[in-house]
């Protein structure tokens, strides 16, 4: 009974691959976004550096996880990449061609290459539209005749596991959270994107439903050769779905590595603390001391130098003096990058590895 995407007659053409398999699907460079909050009676301004110099590469068929706590800028990053929030600086290159720069707008036809799936909420679907109307909207906007789009919408429902005979004419309020999330995914896929940005797609769901949705996402990724940017605060979920992981703290990337590398040997003290804060699931092996104390600082006044230093167990004078660059972590080879003075040879941090010259 199941309809699959590959068997479906999609009314929109696929987006042609231009750069070939070695060309990264998405390159985001130096993304920057400040939010200005009008503050106080006399027009004093406070500035929140929501995203500060974020660069990200997503290869074809790859899933990149972005991990961090609330306020670390991961959701803003998602909206910047998708071009929903205009960036102050930076650029996004999609399959070798410019997607946007601060001065150019995104072409309506090319825009469909990147779609988003949001956290399940009451406002993730239009409460006044039936599921068919919701799913037909995108294709219609791209010139697909209404009747064709509606038929296609029913196929889409079937493909995400919602039998159209029962679901086509329902309104969002008549769905459970997991079902709504399936519709959210179908809506994003309706116009045949190549990259899905998933912003906490399973965070609002119950655990048993979470597994259903994750399994669906994995199956769709393979079937449609999609790439994902998967944003979550849940390390277990990211570990399950991502090939590569980016850890953010207060608007900056602090560590980046393959899933295997980072879960085997996290290098940044924040990443370590984050991993250590994960409950064990075994009542006989409980966490005995909190890995970190205190809350993340106010992003309006981030600490100088390394933004993590106020909570960092190994902070030293050098950490306050300058911001550590995101650089290759010393012993590991490729792909593992960390922004921590303690990992930079010759940084002056007492735990830093000796510079290569000194070793010989």
């Amino acid at each position: 009974m199941s309809v699959t995407f590959s068997a479906m007659q999609a009314p929109l053409p696929p987006i042609e691959d231009r750069g070939g398999p070695s060309q990264p699907l998405l390159i985001a460079r130096g993304l920057r976004k400040e939010f200005r909050l009008a503050d106080g009676l006399f027009g004093g301004r406070t500035v929140v550096h929501a995203v500060d110099d974020l660069s990200l590469t997503v290869n074809k068929g790859e899933t990149v996880g972005i991990v961090g706590e609330s306020g670390c800028g991961k959701s803003t990053a998602a909206r910047l990449i998708a071009g929903i929030t205009p960036a102050d600086d930076g650029e996004v290159v999609f399959d070798g061609e410019s997607f946007w720069t601060p001065r150019t707008r995104i072409d309506a036809e090319r825009r469909r290459a990147i779609q988003m799936v949001f956290q399940d909420s009451a406002s993730s679907l239009n409460p006044r539209m039936t599921l068919t109307e919701t799913l037909a909207f995108g294709p219609r906007a791209h010139g697909v005749p209404t009747a064709v789009a509606r038929t296609y919408a029913r196929d889409l429902l079937a493909a995400v596991g919602l039998p159209p005979s029962r679901f086509a004419e329902r309104y969002p309020i008549q769905l459970s959270g997991g079902q709504r999330q399936r519709v959210n995914i179908a809506r994003a896929l309706a116009i045949r994107p190549r990259l899905l940005i998933l912003d906490e797609p399973v965070s609002a769901l119950d655990k048993s439903v979470e597994a259903q949705v994750l399994n669906l996402l994995v199956a769709l990724r393979e079937e449609l050769s999609l790439s994902y940017v998967f944003i979550s605060h849940d390390l277990n979920v990211v570990r399950y779905i991502a090939d590569r992981v980016v850890v953010m703290y207060l608007g900056q990337v602090v560590e980046e590595a393959t899933s295997a590398q980072i879960f085997a040997a996290p290098r940044h003290p924040y990443t370590r603390a984050l991993f250590a804060s994960k409950p064990s699931l075994d009542p006989r092996r409980r966490i005995e001391a909190p890995p970190l104390t205190g809350d993340p600082p106010d992003p309006v006044n981030p600490p100088s130098g390394c933004r993590f230093r106020t909570r960092c167990p190994i902070a030293e004078a050098v950490c306050a003096a300058a911001k550590p660059p995101l650089a290759a972590a010393a012993p590991e080879g490729e792909g593992h990058k960390v922004a921590c003075w303690a990992a930079q040879p010759g940084s002056g941090h007492s735990l830093a590895p000796r510079p290569m010259g000194a070793l010989q």
Binding site: N126, F137, H142, L216, A219
Partner: protein, 297 residues
């Protein structure tokens, strides 16, 4: 196993679909509110009477009879008394509904279209467009509504058309402000962002996603303004800035009859009572609609 897509087991356990139309639900909830329903029925009666005034009214509202001047309530042929020229007050009240209600509803309707359009535009566009539109609205907002209506009507001169124009100007800013605030909210919802991501044009998004979600609150707000409008419209006529004699209008009648308030207070109070009843009823009805539209879980 591709079990994910097989959802034959989902059905056994999920809420049975209740196919319902949103409008029917709201209507049903509205009808379960006795006070709002009563108000709606009273309004309906007044409106129907005004529309079919030539059938309902017992006498010609323009026919004067000296003998019946200021006739008391219950006089034969002048069941609700006679006015200062001996015309039938009951018939004039019924006919008066035509003008008074039009003067109350039309400005709000105009305000709804113009203010709604401006507000949705400002709310969806945001940024500078929003600033320009909303600051312009604020200029009008600075004056009390009645004062503003009087000032504009005074500048335009008396007459029903000018009264309606003056009142429309009064109702555009508050409705625009209301529309702006709900649109700003809806604009931030994920389904609107998803629609923008899909590459749909702004016009299409406004038509299909935004309008259906902001129309309800804006309409309810506008309908609550009718109760203000009816008083303002009567006020203009009372001051001689609206309809001119001999046309029957509640505000005008009140103005004329107030001189006989010591002779025949009950008759003089009647047009005022009509204004009061309509205003309160409009208020109760719009309140009832608002309550019926509330999302309950």
């Amino acid at each position: 196993m591709h079990g994910t897509f097989d959802s034959s087991d989902i059905d056994a356990v999920i809420v049975p679909v209740r196919h319902f139309s949103y409008r029917r639900v709201v209507l049903g909830r509205f009808m379960r509110q006795p006070i709002a329903m009563t108000a709606a029925l009273i309004l309906l009666a007044i409106v129907l009477a005004a529309i079919f005034a030539n059938v309902v009214a017992p006498a010609d509202p323009f026919q004067t009879r000296v003998a019946r001047r200021l006739a008391v309530i219950g006089t034969e042929g002048r069941w609700l008394g006679g006015d200062e020229l001996g015309r039938d007050v009951l018939s004039r009240l019924i006919y008066g509904g035509r003008i008074s209600l039009s003067m109350a509803v039309l400005p709000v309707a105009i305000g709804l279209f113009v203010g709604g359009f401006l507000g949705i535009l400002a709310g969806y566009a945001g940024g500078r467009t929003n600033m320009a539109i909303m600051r312009a609205m604020d200029v009008f907002y600075a004056f009390p509504s009645i004062l503003l209506a009087v000032a504009i009507a005074g500048a335009l001169g008396p007459g029903m058309m000018n009264g309606i124009i003056a009142l429309s100007m009064v109702f555009i800013p508050p409705i625009a402000r209301m529309a702006e605030s709900v649109t700003t909210q809806v604009r931030s919802y994920e389904f609107v962002i998803a629609a923008r991501l899909s590459g749909a044009s702004t016009g299409r998004i406004l038509r299909e996603h935004v309008l259906s979600n902001v129309a309800g609150p804006i309409l309810v707000f506008a309908s609550s303004q009718v109760s203000v409008s009816i008083i303002a419209a009567s006020g203009l006529s009372f001051l001689g800035l609206g309809v001119s004699p001999p046309y029957p209008d509640w505000g005008l009648m009140l103005s004329a009859l107030r001189q006989s308030i010591y002779v025949n207070p009950w008759v003089a109070a009647l047009p005022g009572a009509m204004i009061f009843i309509c205003s309160v009823c409009f208020n109760l009805v719009s309140d009832g609609v608002r309550r019926a539209m509330e999302v309950r879980r």
